[in-house]
Amino acid sequence: MPSTVTRDRRALLVIPATALLLVAFVYPVFWLLLRSVSDPVWGAHNYATALGEVIYLKVLWNTVAISGATTVFCLLFGYPMAYTMVHAGPAAKRILIYIVLIPFWTSILVRTFAWLVLLQPKGLINDMLLGIGLIAEPLELIYNRTGVLIGMVQILLPFMVFPLFSVLSRIDDGYMKAAANLGAPPLPAFFRVYLPLSLPGVLTGCMLVFIISLGYFITPALLGGRRDIMVAQLIQEQIDLFGNWGLSAALAMILLAGTALIFTVTYKVFGVKPDIRA
């Protein structure tokens, strides 16, 4: 049978990519894991430091708090947006998709830089607010958590909108019509019929935004305050400034474990298939 031979031989094509990933990805991450328990001496002391000392715990807590807030804001903005996209006419839908898609394809660095320009004390946003007399003093919009959140929510919004869009566009409008016909006012009908049907999209979107936020580096580094850093900045700082591989590696492994845990819980418990292509 030529077909069986073909199948077996084609299976070999997976080898080069897998070998490359094993050497240049799996091994390096494993190497980092080893550093966390062996640098400078063997033991769990790096984990004890990362999880025991107030300054590091505060960074971990910051990371969770900023990621959580980013996720909530993305959901609040993303849901109505996805809803509008689904119910827009074909032309408007196309435009809206591109409005989400273009920033999605744009470098995070470029988008963060744009916020850096806009949020300055003498930036466009403060100028506008001062100009219309809404504020008397420039607002502190940058180098603090406000700046980080404004930037991160905008940058991560597509990761919320796309999963929501794909789930919402599969919801049959008939359900809402049926609810209305049965006498349900729009709002209860939405919360009891539409929202539950859209939950898989909400979960996927929230999970994606949250786990991507956890490891975020560029945006908090450029828009955030020096004393209000996230874990990725701490990892970079510890390696770059202090050569502290043990602690950095431990922090990296804690971040990895957190990410993996959330990913698995969403996948297994809620039975949502995370579409990591967004």
Partner: protein, 248 residues
């Protein structure tokens, strides 16, 4: 507004005649683009990015397409695990990849080399090619390939004459996607590059942290236009092939 406006404003500022990032600009000029052309550091970094993007994109496309073919057509023991390994760079926070590669690259002597950047970007972009091509392969009727085999085509001929033409739009969009990701990549590059071999994003990063003048807006605009061009090419090819899904 919230989504699009920031980029548009950077675009406008890049043509500013002022010395600072004021908006709206008092006048317009090309001076910041001239600045890029006049400054060897910017030119060198753009050239570095291109020298990394092309080989990394091509390597990721070849390896990713081969792997997608094997995972979708061959019967592989532990296919789920292999798929997990190949997709891992997308799920593992990039700061971890960056730290890990920095660590081993110093030992392997790849730190600060073009080769190291190419290797890192290949690893980072394989998942995108794998998922794009994999999705396309699932839509190809396997009986077409079996028919070719039964008619005496060698596996390579069956692939080249039957499968490849059907999945070509996905392969090309995987290549485009891989190149854009490579060109835009900052975090890993920041760790494994040196001032001598420095991609444009790292060059931009180090400038943002110093004096910010509209030259950076001009560079940002160039990077943005590159992504936009790639997106347009992608949407045209996918429309021609009848693939409706508008996602990268």
């Amino acid at each position: 507004m919230y989504i699009i406006a920031p980029i548009v404003i950077v675009l406008i500022i890049s043509f500013s005649s002022a010395q600072f990032l004021t908006f709206p600009p008092p006048g317009y000029s090309m001076q910041w683009y001239e600045n890029i052309v006049d400054n060897p550091a910017w030119l060198r970094s753009l050239w570095t990015s291109l020298r990394v993007m092309l080989p990394a994109g091509i390597a990721a496309t070849v390896l990713g397409t081969a792997a997608a073919l094997a995972l979708n057509r061959g019967s592989i023991p532990g296919a789920a695990i292999i798929n997990g390994i190949l997709m891992a760079p997308l799920v593992v926070p990039v700061i971890i990849t960056a730290a890990a590669l920095f660590g081993v690259f110093r030992i392997w002597g790849l730190y600060g080399s073009i080769g190291g950047l190419i290797l890192a970007h290949t690893v980072l972009t394989i998942p995108y090619v794998l998922s794009t091509v994999g999705a396309s392969l699932q839509l190809v009727d396997k009986r077409l390939e079996d028919a070719a085999a039964n008619l005496g085509a060698t596996p390579w001929a069956a692939f080249r004459l039957v499968t490849l033409p059907l999945i070509l739009p996905a392969v090309l969009s995987g290549l485009l996607f891989a190149m854009v990701i490579s060109f835009d990549e900052l975090v890993v590059s920041l760790f494994i590059s040196t001032p001598v071999v420095r991609p444009v994003t790292v060059q931009m990063w180090s400038n943002i942290r110093g004096d910010v003048d509209p030259t950076i807006a001009a560079i940002a605009t160039l990077i943005f236009l590159f992504s936009l061009a790639a997106l347009l090419v992608e949407s045209v090819t996918s429309r021609n092939s009848g693939r409706k899904t508008p996602h990268p």
